[in-house]
């Protein structure tokens, strides 16, 4: 089933529902064969953007190019873009086999070719034995796979997945996302995956776009986005972040971040002069007494999470979350005790004030 891989270019796309603008100036380039994620909270416009690519919803302005060809004015049935719906949208009046064969029949494929193609697609998702069942006789995971088979059997140029895992339970979700990825690699299909779950996006995608309020906040690989968020939204949306406000001061070669409360932390070189510093909980070390550039604070809460111990420390005028990995016999800081927090200068990320 492997075919010519195509890229997707989204150029200056705006989209409104009535007077409400839900996508603003979206520009994006998705490489051929890439597994790409749209990540964002509900209402961020991620599903709207995906549906615009499939041709559903109001007509956007701007261009959406698949393989270099603008498809904005094509109706959904002429786009050859495969979409798997969040609800799977298996037709309850058709058997599994008829569901999967639907798209091929619409393409007027000869009857004797449809059978083998359907079998191959069912085989691909490992559910050949369920061909004669009705959709309501299938479990959630099986429905998901049939929906996938129904979509890939027509050999679309692009695969769009709208929150495909959100209706599955936690264990199945982990298993299905691995299966999705290996299937995508096998087919070499350019794929867009919409999710609000950062873990899903992190574990599956080559690159992702974080959306908020109809605007793309940042594009990049999961690791780049986590380690170098460009703004506070991305920093907070991807994992837990401690954010402190203040100024950058230079003393000799060493740059230091001085918080509004006067506490100072060493940082790597930066162009930012004033703004926020983002500290990941696991990049802060906690100890009974510090030496050098540390921030002093007091332990408010302590939670044992198994592999980690999470402290909430009152320091620098805010509550800072600190994660320490836990090993047998490790020392714990007591609640109410005075502690010193130390940050590795290279791990802190500076974000300039907006505007």
């Amino acid at each position: 089933m492997k075919q010519q891989m195509v890229g997707i270019e989204i150029e200056n796309v705006h989209l409104s529902f009535g007077n409400t603008e839900v996508l603003t100036g979206v520009n994006l380039k998705i490489e051929p064969g890439e597994f790409f994620a749209f990540l964002g909270p509900s209402g961020s416009g991620k599903s709207t953007l995906l549906r615009a690519i499939a041709g559903f919803g109001p007509r956007p302005s701007g261009a959406i190019k698949i393989g270099g060809k603008d498809i904005v004015d094509l109706p959904p049935w002429k786009r050859n873009v495969g979409m798997v719906f969040q609800s799977y949208a298996l037709w309850p009046h058709l058997s599994v086999r008829d569901n999967v064969a639907f798209g091929l029949r619409e393409r007027k494929m000869p009857r004797n070719e449809i059978g083998p193609r359907v079998d191959a697609a069912l085989d691909l998702v490992g559910l050949s034995h369920l061909a004669d069942r009705m959709p309501n006789q299938l479990s959630g995971g099986q429905q998901q796979r049939i929906a996938l088979a129904r979509t890939v059997v027509v050999e679309p140029q692009v695969l769009l997945l709208d929150e495909p895992l959100s209706n599955l339970d936690a264990n199945l979700r982990v298993q299905m996302r691995r299966e999705l990825l290996s299937l995508q690699r096998k087919l070499g299909l350019t794929t867009i995956f919409v999710t609000h779950d950062q873990e899903e996006a992190n574990t599956t995608s080559d690159r992702m776009a974080v959306l908020d309020g109809g605007v793309i906040q940042q594009v990049g690989s999961p690791q780049v986005l986590y380690d170098n968020p460009q703004n506070l939204f991305v920093a907070n949306f991807l994992g837990t972040a401690n954010v402190l406000n203040g100024k950058v001061e230079k003393s000799g070669e060493q740059m230091r971040f001085v918080t509004n409360t006067g506490d100072a932390l060493p940082i790597g070189s930066t162009d930012v002069t004033s703004g926020s510093i983002v500290l990941r909980p696991q990049n802060i070390t906690i100890s009974a007494s510090g030496n050098g550039d540390t921030i002093n604070g007091k332990v408010l809460h302590r939670e044992f999470l198994g592999s980690q111990i999470r402290y909430i420390v009152e320091a620098a005028g805010s509550e800072i979350i600190v994660d320490q990995s836990h090993a047998v016999g490790a020392d714990w800081q007591e609640i109410g005790s005075d502690v010193a927090l130390q940050v590795n200068a290279q791990t802190a990320v500076m974000i300039a004030d907006a505007g």
Binding site: A54, G55, F56, P75, P76, W77, K78, R79, N80, V81, G82, M83, F85, Q86, S87, A89, W91, P92, H93, L94, F102, G103, E106, R107, M134, N136, R150, T151, V154
Partner: protein
């Protein structure tokens, strides 16, 4: 505060073996069961039994059926009834399908009009409209006179069976419209989008995905139309089409007498067809819950119409609505007409018909209010009791009670009427000594049984809205079962119960098929029967139409009121939830 129902009363202290007790609700359930058996099951079984009985010897036999199918008139009647029912479904579909599709599919300003006007046919008993339609679509009616004058042709809309089909399909198509629209609205847009995504569109998309998904609703509506038309007596009678099953049953019983077996054979066939249609549609729908709307998804995506599409849509809707409203238009014209025959419109207009009607039908109206009022009050009391017993207790056989009450749906009015005539034949009313079969109370009882399924549905729906925890909270604070029902459950159900009352009352007020069998003297007759009598003579038509308008107003007002109550209740409940 009374303490009698609290635990700790004398009866509770005695060992139960010494003092066997049936709970109050158990007694109620038993009484209702007896009532339903006596007034529904026994009459129907009696009718079926007599159908298999030799009229002379009383022995069981199949001879009656042999005689029935041996007679060419009965064979023809059987075929005609079947043909008329099937064709009515077809014509009703032709009317309902475009309306349902346009309203659920497009952002169409006419949707509201269709939704309200589309239901208007139901508020007029079909036989009332039949005469008016004769004047508009008949051989010498408005349309054909104009056609003849302009083009020299005429179309036999109302000749013979065509007339019955046209009247019935115009009257009953809302059943298909309601059910089909609901089904269409319950299809999630992703169902359609998935098909478009895979290359399907237009008519093909409708045929392969949308319509099959709406099929359960369509079948439910179509089955209902089929049964209603198959059983209907009033319309063929008024159109003077007697070679159908229900009119034959009526004519045999009313002209030959209640010992003639043919009426019973026909009744048996009518019941069997009703049960068969319901069963077939049930079989079809089993395992086919196609309602697929997702949270936040909300039905098929609607799109705007282009200008030429808009013109076409309005054209189609206007045509259909004009046809659908023609009985009402005709009836109104007729009620104000001096003379209307062999002319497109009445010769002149007058209020005389209303005066005549008022002078001669005060009794009909009083009777109707009494019968329908009694029937509806009884319906909501029994309906509430059954709903409570089924949903809130564990009384043995409670489900059977529900089925028993609902079974009345499958019993045509003619059959119930014949059953009552036979059952109460020869019995006397206690004290007064008049023959029971011609006692007016029997009419009210028949109406009660006929409308019980509707009242029961309304009461069940109302009770479903009352959360069990509200009752448990009352019991937790010390209220007994009886007091909880009185203080909490019934007040919260009031809206639904009231809606049930109004629906039962309004439809009972215009019921003809059972009452026409049971009315023994004009002074006992209700409004529907009065209209029937008026319409028998050309000179009485005007007054008949005026009385028909009264009937339409009663049912229309009733429907409007029950709708208001339900809506108000919904709002009240919603605001309660928000706070």
């Amino acid at each position: 505060m009374s303490d009698t129902s609290r635990p700790g009363s004398l009866a509770d202290k005695l060992p139960s073996a010494l003092f066997p007790r049936v709970s109050g609700l158990g007694m109620v359930a038993l009484l209702i069961a007896l009532l339903l058996i006596g007034l529904l099951i026994i009459p129907v079984l009696l009718v079926i039994y007599v159908a298999f009985q030799d009229p002379n010897t009383g022995a069981l036999t199949l001879n009656n059926f042999q005689d029935f199918f041996g007679s060419s008139l009965f064979r023809e009647s059987f075929w005609n009834s079947f043909y008329v029912s099937a064709m009515s479904v077809v014509v009703a579909t032709i009317i309902a399908l475009p309306l349902a599709y346009i309203t659920t599919r497009f952002n169409f300003a006419g949707s509201m009009v269709i939704q309200s006007l589309g239901f208007i046919p139901l508020i007029m008993p079909p036989f009332v409209g039949a005469v008016a339609m004769q004047l508009i679509f008949g051989r010498n009616g408005t349309i054909n006179l104009l056609l003849k004058e302009k083009f020299g042709v005429s179309i036999p809309f109302m000749d013979g069976l065509n007339g019955v089909i046209l009247v019935q399909s115009i009257h009953y198509f809302p059943f298909i419209l309601i059910n089909l629209s609901t089904s269409l609205r319950n299809i999630d847009r992703s169902m359609e989008e998935a098909a478009q995504n895979l290359g399907s569109y237009g008519m093909r998309l409708f045929r392969r995905v949308v319509f099959p998904l709406a099929m359960p609703g369509y079948i439910a509506g179509a089955a209902l139309v089929f049964i209603k038309v198959f059983d209907d007596l009033g319309t063929p009678l008024l159109l003077n089409v007697n070679n159908m099953l229900a009119p034959q049953a009526f004519l045999r019983i009313s002209s030959i007498g209640i010992s003639d077996p043919m009426g019973y054979v026909i009744s048996f066939i009518l019941v069997m067809f009703s049960i068969f249609s319901l069963w077939a549609s049930f079989l079809f729908m089993r395992g086919k819950d196609y309602s697929t709307v997702q949270k936040g998804g909300g039905g098929l995506s609607k799109r705007d119409l282009r200008t030429h599409e808009k013109i076409m849509a309005y054209g189609v809707v206007a045509m259909i609505l004009l046809a659908v409203l023609s009985p009402h238009i005709g009836l109104t014209l007729l009620s104000f007409a001096t003379i209307w025959s062999y002319a497109p419109l009445p010769d002149g207009y007058t209020m005389q018909n209303f005066v005549t009607m008022w002078n001669s039908s005060g009794e009909y109206i009083t009777n109707t209010v009494i019968y329908a009022g009694l029937a509806a009050v009884a319906d909501i009391i029994i309906g509430t009791a059954i709903a409570y017993i089924v949903m809130r207790t564990k009384i043995f056989g409670r489900k059977a009670l529900d089925y028993l009450a609902t079974a009345a749906l499958a019993v045509p009015g003619v059959v119930l009427g014949i059953g009552y005539l036979r059952l109460f034949h020869g019995m006397e009313v206690p004290f007064s000594g008049e023959p029971m079969a011609s006692w007016w109370v029997i009419i009210a009882l028949a109406l009660m049984i006929r409308r019980l399924p509707y009242a029961l549905r309304a009461c069940t729906a109302a009770l479903q809205q009352v959360s069990v925890s509200l009752e448990e909270a009352a019991e937790n604070l010390g209220a007994s079962k009886a007091r909880t029902v009185k203080k909490i459950v019934v007040p919260l159900m009031t809206g639904g119960i009231l809606a049930g009352f109004v629906t039962s009352f309004a439809t009972a007020a215009v019921e003809l098929s059972a009452t026409i069998m049971l009315v023994s003297s004009d002074s006992d007759a209700p409004l529907a029967y009065g209209i029937y009598l008026f319409m028998q003579t050309p000179s009485g038509r005007g007054a008949g139409a005026a009385l028909g308008l009264v009937a339409v107003l009663i049912v229309g007002l009733g429907t409007f009121l029950s709708q208001m109550v339900v809506e108000r209740d919904k709002k009240y409940r919603m605001s309660g939830q928000e706070q």
